[in-house]
């Protein structure tokens, strides 16, 4: 699938990171929305919206990334989810992966990491 037909949801409590990740997705042609925490990510899906990709931060107030991913998967959401965090400890990454992630991307995100992730899961015809 061409990245220009993909949609994404950016979930991060840091407004600067939401802007940067949103702009990065725009630059590779992925339409996207941003929300501030896991609870808002759940609510967006409950309103009927779905996304091809979700970039999920780990540490967020109200509902963190691990809780949000578990909830989304239990709701039957099959989107490709990348956990995005500045944490580098194996144990934290393991817990994040076990929640239902498809990929873990260490912050800071860059265009190269983002396009590799998209190409891994959505091969262009």
């Amino acid at each position: 699938m061409d990245s220009h037909k993909l949609t994404a949801l950016v979930v991060d409590d840091d407004r600067m990171v939401r802007i940067i990740h949103g702009k990065m997705l725009n630059s590779v042609g992925v339409k996207n929305q941003v929300v501030q925490n896991g609870k808002e990510a759940i609510n967006v899906h409950l309103s009927g919206q779905t996304f091809d990709l979700i970039l999920m931060d780990l540490d967020m107030p109200i509902m963190n990334g691990i809780e949000a991913i578990k909830e989304l998967r239990s709701m039957g959401i099959c989107s490709t989810i990348a956990g995005v965090s500045a944490r580098s400890m194996e144990s934290h990454i393991q817990e994040f992966m076990e929640a239902g992630l498809d990929e873990y991307l260490e912050k800071p995100l860059n265009i190269s990491k983002l396009t590799s992730f998209i190409h891994k899961f959505y091969v262009t015809n």
Partner: protein, 154 residues
């Protein structure tokens, strides 16, 4: 000063920021995202960083001033600052945060206070450096020139 001279000054100054470790490759990512639709993208993102970091540093000062320091809370603030500084390529701030988190883990209050002072200094330094850089850019644009493309080849 003619445009070519200003552009050379900009190149030299930008290069020095990378060589001295104030900025890393992530900053170039932000510049790549700037385009005609968002000509002030880098300035806006950097401004947001300094607004948010100012608040975080205040929160850290209060947290470390408590009789009984909540190191988990201190660590959470430092983790946030580490994440946002790395997102704009503020390398020295990020490196300070890495050291700071280690001291939080050790619950070393004196070390944490020293580190807080250092992080504040590094934020101040990179803020001044970036303000100078953006001023140079404005001068180039005002003179009808364009900002040269920067690649990390040093």
């Amino acid at each position: 000063m003619e445009v070519g001279q200003m552009q050379r000054q900009w190149i030299d100054y930008t290069r020095s920021l990378f060589i001295e470790g104030f900025l890393d490759a992530q900053f170039l990512q932000l510049e790549q995202l700037q385009d005609d639709n968002n000509p002030d993208f880098v300035v806006e993102v950097v401004s947001l960083f300094f607004q948010d970091s100012h608040k975080l540093l205040n929160d850290l000062t209060v947290a470390l001033d408590q009789k009984s320091v909540d190191f988990k809370m201190v660590d959470a603030h430092v983790h946030q600052l580490k994440g946002s500084s790395s997102s704009i390529g503020a390398q020295r701030v990020k490196n300070c945060c890495i050291a700071f988190r280690n001291l939080c883990e050790e619950q070393n209050i004196d070390g944490c206070l020293k580190c807080l002072h250092q992080v504040k200094q590094e934020c101040c330094l990179v803020k001044n450096k970036l303000e100078t850089l953006f001023r140079l850019e404005q001068q180039i644009m005002a003179a009808g020139g364009s900002i040269p493309l920067m690649e990390l080849s040093f």
